[in-house]
Subunit: 224 residues, 4 copies
DNA sequence: TATGAATGAGCCTTCATTCAT
DNA sequence: GATGAATGAAGGCTCATTCAT
C-alpha cells in the first residue's frame, strides 16, 4: 500500500504528457487559470492567448475548438485521479487488512488523492463546474468513475459487509457517504477557503474518523 | 419542531413575492429554467425572453441587467433556505432535547430543508454553479450562511460538546461534516440522478445515522 | 402576347416584396452591389453593413446567415425571371401562330426577359457565379428552370417539329441552342461590356434571326 | 488542317512546363481540383497543401501568393486554348476553302478546342468563375483573346462577308454568335452535366450546323 | 408598460503568409 | 529545398442593452 506512486505510472506512463511543446504547455496552463477563474463560458480564447503569451491563432492550431481545449485539460485530470483505483491492489487490500487497520487503509487512499488534488486544485474546480454542462465530460466521467472506480468500491464494500464491519446500507448510498465528506473537505480546503491555515493531516484524520464511525454498525454515542 | 412552516414567514412575510406581475413571474420562471439548463454565462436573454413569452426589452424593464436577473432569482432562494435557522428555537431545541432524541431533531431539520430544495432543485443547481463566480452572490451567501446560520450551528455544537455527546473536532470541521453528507445527498438526489427511484425517507434516515455516528465519541465498528 | 407585364403579377403579386423594411431594402441593395462586385465568398458582411448604413448586427437580425442573405437575393430573381413561362399562353401561342410569325413570337419573349435582366444585371452576375457552388441555389434553379421552364420549351418545340418548322435535333440540344445566344448576348451586354454604345433593338433582332435560321431545316448559305 | 497538333508547339515549346518539380506538379494539380470545387476565394491553401501531400510552406516557396498560384494555373490554360489561332493558317484556310467546306473547317476548329477543354474541364470552370474578379486574369484574357484571337476572327469574317457567304452583322456580334453556342455546349457538356451519356460527335455536328445556318444569308426554313 | 428593431462590442475561428529549423 | 509551427488580421455571428414607438 505504500507504493501508490508506482501505480500512478502503471497504466499511463508519465511520458504521455511530455509530448507537449512549450507553447502548448503555456496554453494549457493559461487555460486552466482562466477557466478556473471565470468559468469556461465566460473565458475568452483571446485572454487565454494573451496570458499564455501566444497568438490567438496558436491556440487553434493545437486545439481545434475552445471546447477541445477544455477537454484536453479535464480528461487527463480525471484519468489521473482515477489511476490508483485501477490497481487490483485496491480491493485486495480491503480484503486482506484486519478490521482495525481499515481506517489506515482509507486514510492512505484519501491522503494520496488529496495530494493529487492539491497539485491540481484549479482543475478540481473546472471539473466540478463544467461537468454539469458538457456531455463530453460526462461521458469521460462515466467512463472513469462509474465504470472503473465505482465497481471497485462496490467490491470493497462487499467484503466489508461480509466481515460485518460496516452498516448495511445500499452500495450507492455507502459510496456517497464515503465520498461526500472527502469532497466536502477538498472543496472547502482548496476552493472555498484555500487561504486558511489548514492542518491537513489532522483534518484528514478527522474526516476518516468521521466516515469510519459513520458507517460503523454500532450506534455511536447514543449507544444501545 | 413541527412548526417550521410558521418560521418560514417569521422574517420575510409571504407578501414579499406577491408584488410580481405575471410577466415578471414568467420571466423568473423562464430564467430559472434556462440558467439551470445551460449555466448563467451560456444563457441568452433572448432565449429567456422567448421562453417567458415576453419581449426581450421587457426583461430589461424589470431587471436592469442580466446579472440583476440572476440575483433576483438566487437571493430569495438563499434567504428561503436559511429561514428556519433564524428561529431562536433552533438552538434552544438542541439544548433541551435529550441525547437520544438528537437524531430525530437533526432529521426534522434535514427533512424540512430537503423539502425546500425539492421544490427548487434548479435553483440549487444555479446557486452551486454561480456562487463561485459572482461576488454579489458570495456576499449574499456570506450574509445568510456565515453570519446567520453558522453561528447558530456553533452554538448548538457547543451545547453538544458540553453534554459530551459528540466528538471534539473544531467547529468548522464539524459543521462541514454535518453538511457534506446532506449536500452530497441533495446533489445526487436532485442534480445528478433525479430520475432514479429514490426512497427519500430511507436515504434521509441513513444520512442522519451516518452523520450522528460519524460525530459520535465512541469508536464505531472497531469497537473497543 | 403584349401583356407580359400582367403575367408578372399572376403568380407572385408585387405586394410580396413590399413587406421589406427600409433597413432590409438597404441591406439587400448593398448586398447585391457587393456580391456582384467581389463575389459572394470575397464579400464581407461588414462591408455590406457599412454600405447599407446599418450595423453589422442588423444584417443578422434579418438574415440568420450570410448565405441566407444570398438566397434572399437570388431566389426572387430566379422566380421573377421564370414568371412569364408559367403562363399557359406561352405554349399556346407557339401552337397558334403562323410559321412566318414565329420569329416575332421569340423576339417578344426575349425582349421581355431582356428588360427584366436589364433591371437586374448585377443579379444575373451573382446567379451565374454562385449557382456553381451553392446547392441551395441549384435546388432553386432546378425547381424553377428544369421543372417549370424546360417542359414548356419542350412542348413548344414539339409543336414546331410537328409543323416541320424546325430541324430535328434532340430537345435538350435545341433548348441549349435557343438559350446560348441569348445568354451570350445578355452576358456580353450587361456583364462584359455594359459601357459599349449598344443598339439593343438591333442586337435582339439579329440574335433572333440567328437562332431561327440556326434551327431552320434548310441548308442555309450552302445551297439554296 | 489536320495538323493542329503541330501548331500547338509553334509558339510555346512543350519544354516550358517540364521545368516543374514533382512537388510543383502536385501543388498545381491539387490547386486546380480545389479551386474548381470550391472557387478560388473559398479554397484554402492548407487544403491545397494537404491534397498535394505537401507542407503549406512549400506552396509559398513556389508561388509567392495564393493569387500567384491561381495565375500560374490559368495563364497556361488560356494560352493553350489560344494556340491554334496564332497560326497564320487559320485565316488562310478560311480564305482558301470553298464555301461548301466552311462547315468542315469550323468543325475541325471546334473539335480541336473541344478536345483541349475536355482534358482541362476544371480549368474551364476556374477561368469562367474567376475571370470576373481578377484584373490579372482579365489582362491575360485581353492579351490572348482580344488581341490575338478576335482579330483573326475578324479577318476571317471579312473574307466570308466578301464572298457573300454570311449575313452582314457587325463583327463583334458575329463572333459572339459563333462562340455562344460553342461555349454553351462546353459548359453544358463539362460543367453542368458531365455525367450524361453524350454523343460528342453528333452534338458538335449539330452545333456547327446551328452556327452555320444561323449566320447564313438565306432565311432558313421560312424561305424568302 | 411593453415591445422589438437596432446596435456594436466582443467572441470563436479561419487563413494566407512568414520564418526558424 | 522543404517543413510546419506561429502569427495576427479579418471574418461571420451572438448577445446584452438601448430606445423610439
Amino acid at each position: 500500500m505504500k507504493e501508490f506512486e508506482e501505480m500512478l505510472h502503471t497504466l499511463h506512463p508519465p511520458s504521455e504528457e511530455k509530448k507537449l511543446t512549450p507553447k502548448q504547455e503555456q496554453i494549457l496552463k493559461a487555460a486552466v487559470e482562466v477557466f478556473a477563474e471565470k468559468g469556461y463560458a465566460s473565458s475568452s480564447t483571446s485572454e487565454i492567448a494573451s496570458r499564455a503569451n501566444v497568438a490567438e491563432g496558436t491556440i487553434f492550431r493545437h486545439y481545434k475548438t475552445k471546447k477541445d481545449l477544455l477537454i484536453a485539460i479535464v480528461k487527463p485530470f480525471m484519468r489521473g485521479f482515477a489511476v490508483p483505483f485501477f490497481a487490483a491492489r485496491f480491493v485486495q487490500d480491503v480484503f486482506d487488512v484486519p478490521p482495525e487497520k481499515l481506517e489506515d487503509l482509507l486514510k492512505t487512499l484519501i491522503k494520496n488523492r488529496f495530494e493529487f488534488v492539491k497539485e491540481n486544485a484549479p482543475l478540481l474546480k473546472i471539473v466540478l463546474q463544467e461537468l454539469a454542462f458538457h456531455s463530453e465530460l460526462k461521458d469521460q466521467f462515466q467512463e472513469v468513475f462509474i465504470q472503473e472506480i465505482f465497481p471497485k468500491f462496490e467490491e470493497a464494500i462487499y467484503h466489508l459487509k461480509e466481515k460485518g464491519a460496516v452498516v448495511d446500507f445500499p452500495n450507492p448510498t455507502m459510496i456517497r457517504m464515503i465520498m461526500s465528506p472527502i469532497i466536502g473537505f477538498l472543496v472547502t480546503r482548496f476552493l472555498i477557503a484555500p487561504d486558511l491555515p489548514w492542518d491537513d493531516e489532522k483534518e484528514l484524520d478527522q474526516t476518516v474518523h468521521f466516515i469510519m464511525h459513520g458507517l460503523s454498525k454500532g450506534t455511536g454515542s447514543s449507544s444501545d
